[in-house]
Structures are given as structure tokens and as C-alpha cells.
């Protein structure tokens, strides 16, 4: 059986992230970095799916993360809903908001989508601290405290024993990465790459950009919302602070370092970038400057990211491969969404008159 390099990378990453803590014993710092790294890896990869593959420049990711976190936080603290259902609800809620935003947004051009979604992020951040937000239980600027941890069977995870948290995050990570991998290497993913590389050509052979973009927008939002919900239970509290620019900046750096549309570059980049962030704490107020400079330098000198520059990644349908990729994109496998323009099949084509 042929295993794709991307799948192999995910498996290696999962195994390493699972084994490293054993080597370090119960080191809290290492555990926390890995858990946070896994969370960022999922959010970053979901972002890359929509930005790098579907070619939709969106900034809504942190809002989706926040929506997932707040949904489960409100449900579990106010209504006593189980955290497991909360994660599900968080994902569904984020997905629903994603579709709601995607419906008007995805027909627009790149910069419009970027700012509209950026606006959604700013609006959500303003909403949770506003009186409207307080009315539905966001707790205003104080946030929500005392979000219960997960329990498995009768065992309740506690905030001090990080091991179970890490392996739970690893589970979320593995499932999410597999879903993203599946999407990228499916009929849909091929259609995205075709659309990204040549939108007109792809549309001319019947790939409907709007429907695919909406679908991937929803998938990306659901994954981000779910991991956001996990994060809420992991830290035990949510507040407007998590919607600040900090997380956005980190994701941005991971994205650029990993390379746009080069799965799973962002996931791999997540860990070193987080470590760097920890060590840069000494730089204090200069930290954003350092990260800003890193973003600029990476974009200027390594526009395809580290992984892409090293020759890895799945940039996919270039030159000759593109035509074949397009054929694969329009050949509709059973159960795949119908494309807008039907291909004329040979038997319906009118016979030429003699």
C-alpha cells in the first residue's frame, strides 16, 4: 500500500507528540507546550485548508475558535451539559456561523472576504464583552470561570495531571488532521487546488467554486470550533482576552513558516513557533516587533514556507499534472456533490449529420 508523504508526516507527528512527554517525565512546561502546540496545529491546519487550498483569504478562524469555546463554556456552566456534548455543540455552532458568514461572503473577491471575516472577528470580540453578550451568558469582560473538565467513564480529568489532557488533545489532533487530509486528497480537495490554480479553467470544466468553498468553510469552522471547545475545558475559563491579536499573530507566523497550502506544514511549524514564543517572553514589548519582522522576512525570502522550500508538500497540480488534476476534479465519484455544469456524456452527444 502506498502511503502519501503527507499522511506519513501526520503519523510521525502524532507519534512524536505522544512519545516526547514520556522522555521528559512529568515536565509541566513540555506538556503544556505540546498540548498548546496540538491545539494550534489543528486551528492552523484548518485555516490552511481554507486559505492555502480553497484560496479563500479568511480571518474568521479565531472567531470560530472563540465561538466553540464560549458555546461549550456557557452550556456546561449554565446548563450542566456534558463537556463531550459541549465540544460537539461548539463545533456545530462554529460551523453554523461559518456557513452564515460564508453565504454572503464567498461570492466576494479576496480582499473583501479578508476584511469581512476580520470584521467578524472584531465584532465577536466586541460582542462577548457587550451587554448583548452578557445577556446570553458570556460573562462580560470577566469571562466565564469554572468550566468543568472532561470525564471519561467515572474518571474526571483534573487540571494538575496533564497526561490525560495531552493524550486527549492528541486524539482531537489526529482525528482533525485525518479529516483535513481526507478533504485535501479527495475529489473536493482536487477541485480546490484546480480552482486555486486556475479559477476560470476549473469553472469552465464544471467545478463550482461557491459550493466547494462553502463546504470547506464549514468543515474548517467545525474543526476549529471543536478544538476551541476542548481549549475551554482544558484551561477552565474563557475570556475576551483569548480573542486578542496574540493568537492571531501566532497563527499567522505558523502559517507563513509552514507554507500556504502545504499540508501539514502549519502543524509542524506550530511547535517551534510556540517554543520561540516562550523564549521570546524575555523580549517583552519587543515580541510583536520580532514576530512582525519574522512574518515579513519569511514572506519575502521563503514565500512557500520552510516545508515548501525544502521541496516537500503537496502543491499538487502544477504544469502537466494540472490537466490530469482537473479531469479528476470533474469526474464525479459516487456520492460526491454535484457540480453546477454537467459534462456532456458521449451517448447524449448528437451524431454528426452525414
Amino acid at each position: 500500500m502506498k502511503v502519501r508523504r503527507e499522511l506519513l508526516l501526520i503519523i510521525i507527528l502524532t507519534i512524536v507528540a505522544g512519545l516526547v512527554p514520556l522522555g521528559f517525565g512529568d515536565d509541566t512546561f513540555v506538556m503544556r507546550i505540546i498540548i498548546l502546540g496540538l491545539i494550534y496545529a489543528v486551528v492552523g491546519s484548518a485555516w490552511d485548508l481554507i486559505m492555502g487550498y480553497a484560496g479563500v483569504f479568511t480571518f474568521g478562524q479565531i472567531a470560530f475558535f472563540g465561538i466553540g469555546a464560549y458555546t461549550t463554556a456557557i452550556l456546561s456552566t449554565e446548563y450542566g451539559v456534558s463537556p463531550w456534548l459541549g465540544v460537539l455543540a461548539g463545533g456545530v455552532m462554529a460551523g453554523a456561523v461559518g456557513v452564515l458568514i460564508g453565504l454572503p461572503c464567498l461570492r466576494l473577491k479576496g480582499s473583501y472576504v479578508a476584511l469581512l471575516t476580520f470584521g467578524v472577528h472584531m465584532l465577536f470580540a466586541a460582542f462577548v464583552v457587550s451587554s448583548l453578550g452578557v445577556a446570553i451568558g458570556t460573562g462580560g469582560s470577566g469571562g466565564i470561570l469554572g468550566i468543568p473538565p472532561f470525564s471519561i467513564g467515572g474518571y474526571r480529568l483534573d487540571a494538575l495531571t496533564l497526561g490525560p489532557w495531552l493524550y486527549l488533545a492528541l486524539g482531537f489532533f489526529a482525528v482533525s488532521m485525518l479529516i483535513i487530509y481526507k478533504v485535501i486528497f479527495s475529489h473536493t480537495g482536487t477541485a480546490f487546488i484546480a480552482l486555486r490554480d486556475n479559477e476560470q479553467l476549473a469553472q469552465s470544466v464544471g467545478v463550482s467554486s461557491y459550493r466547494y468553498k462553502l463546504l470547506v468553510f464549514a468543515i474548517s469552522a467545525v474543526l476549529t470550533g471543536s478544538i476551541g471547545a476542548y481549549y475551554a475545558h482544558y484551561t477552565g475559563f474563557v475570556s475576551g482576552r483569548m480573542l486578542g491579536l496574540d493568537m492571531f499573530i501566532m497563527l499567522m507566523v505558523m502559517q507563513v513558516a509552514g507554507g500556504l497550502g502545504i499540508f501539514p506544514g502549519t502543524a509542524i511549524a506550530a511547535f517551534p513557533v510556540l517554543l520561540l514564543n516562550e523564549y521570546l517572553r524575555v523580549a517583552d514589548v519587543y515580541r510583536p516587533i520580532v514576530f512582525g519582522a519574522m512574518v515579513l522576512l519569511l514572506v519575502l525570502f521563503l514565500p512557500r514556507g520552510l516545508l515548501g522550500t525544502l521541496g516537500g508538500g503537496s502543491d499538487g497540480l502544477t504544469s502537466l499534472g494540472r490537466i490530469d488534476g482537473l479531469r479528476r476534479a470533474v469526474r464525479r465519484p459516487r456520492g460526491a456533490p454535484k457540480t453546477d455544469v454537467e459534462q456532456p456524456s458521449p451517448d447524449t452527444r448528437p451524431e454528426p449529420e452525414p
Binding site: 454572503p104 466576494l108 476584511l115 469581512l116 470584521g119 457587550s130 510583536p288 512574518v295 515579513l296 519575502l300
Partner: protein, 287 residues
Amino acid sequence: MREFTSVLISGLSNASVYALLAMGLALVYGVSKVFNFAYGSFFSLAGYLAWVLFSIGLGYPAVIPLVVIMLFVLGAGADRLFIRPLRPQKEWETLVVIATLGMALILDGVDLAVFGPFLRELPPLVGGTTTVGGFVISNLDVAIFCAAAATIGALLLFLSKTKMGLAIRAVAQDIDGAQVVGIKHNTVFTYTFAIAAALAAVAGILLASRYFVSYKAGWDILLKAWVITAVGGMGSLMGAAIAAVGLALLEAVVAWKIGASLTTFVWFGLLIVLFIFRPQGIMGRWG
């Protein structure tokens, strides 16, 4: 009624500054399809630079031109160093957005590191009030309106009378055609980016004279300028002006009747509704 008039007048004075800002965005987008995420950071940097110049004893007549020149040079340098090299790339629009975000991080970070998280205040442009026919009008409102209107006038004059202005319009209309007649589009791109930065400088000083200078204020301003540009139609200066007046008046009325914190929600609600029915904006066209 009296209250309504003063709301209207301060709304109009804000509208003039918003129009200025939105025109800068519309100009750059119309000419080079670049969306500058550092625009708001230029705006707040201008406020800080003005604050520094005031603190060494200069007055408005010296501060405004100096800051405008500084921002013009900064804008030109940013385009030359960080945006021009990205243009030949395949996905340059995405890369440019990321690069300008990086620039915004650096500029805001510098503001924070140098000036700290405190709000800074500029001396008032003019003080006092004038009573016209029973209505009390703040002189500051009038002064801001006049300064912004004069800047817009100068911009329109520049675009219609000077060689570079005409070249900018030519590139906006047809980049290939402009190249055929010998217009260097890279120079035009750099000029428009620099002019937009200079407009942000004027707006930054004018609004800082009314409100405060803060390293975070730029993001709010960027969003406002963008909503205006999008409502007016990306790339349309006339649309930007109309949208600025409409949205600033809406903002003034919402802030007066409902509360200032809700204006952003109202603006975005309006924008989303507009996008569903007329995605190209009031005056815009696709392309």
C-alpha cells in the same frame, strides 16, 4: 433640534476625515489591487509623530507638513521594500496581505515599545465655539472639516492636473495600456502607496486633535475606512466620499440615540445587507 444639529455637524466633520481615509484605501486598491492592512498603523503612527513634534515645541503649521512628509517617505519605502518584490509571485495578493499585516505588527509594536500603553493627547487644533443663528457650533468641528476638505480638494487636483496624477488614473483604468504609452507602473504603485500613507497622516493628526493617540486605535480606523470603501465601491473615490458622509451621519445618530459601542455592529450589518444585494458597492464595478 439644537442637539440634533450639533450631532449632525460633528458627524459631518468626522465624515470628512473618514472620506479622506477611505479615499487613500480606494486609491491604492483601485490602482494596484493591494489591500494595505498597515493603513491603520500608519494612522496611529502619524498621531505619535505629531505628539513628538509638539513636545519639542512645534505648532500645527509645522507639524502637519512634517508628519505628512515622514509618512509619505515611509509609505514609499514600504512599497519599494516589501510589496514590490512580492508582485511577481503567483499568490502575491495573499502574500501582500500577510506582509502588510507584518508591517502593522512592527509599527504597532514600535508605538507600544516607545510610547507605552498610555493614551497621548495633542493640543487642540482650535478651541471655543461659534454661535450661528442660535446654533452653537464647535470651532474644532469646522476646522477639521475644512482641513479634510482642503486635503481632498488637493488630492483631486493632483489626480486631474499633474502628470503623475494622470499616470495614476491611467494605471487604474488600464494597466497594459498605460504601460504601452510608457508609464512605469511600479513607480505609480509606489506613489499611490505613499500618497495613501500621507492621507492617513493628515487623518491621524486631525482625529487625534479631537480624540487621543493610541497604538490600538488604528485597527478600528482601518475597519471603518474599509467599510466605507466597500460600501462606496472598492476603487471609487466618489463612492468613498458619499459612503463616508452617509456612514458617519449614521454613526453620529446611533452613538447619540443608542450608544457608541453599537455603531460597529450597525455598520457591519449594513455592509452585509449591501453585499447580498449589491456586492460591488454603491459606485463600484468589478475588476
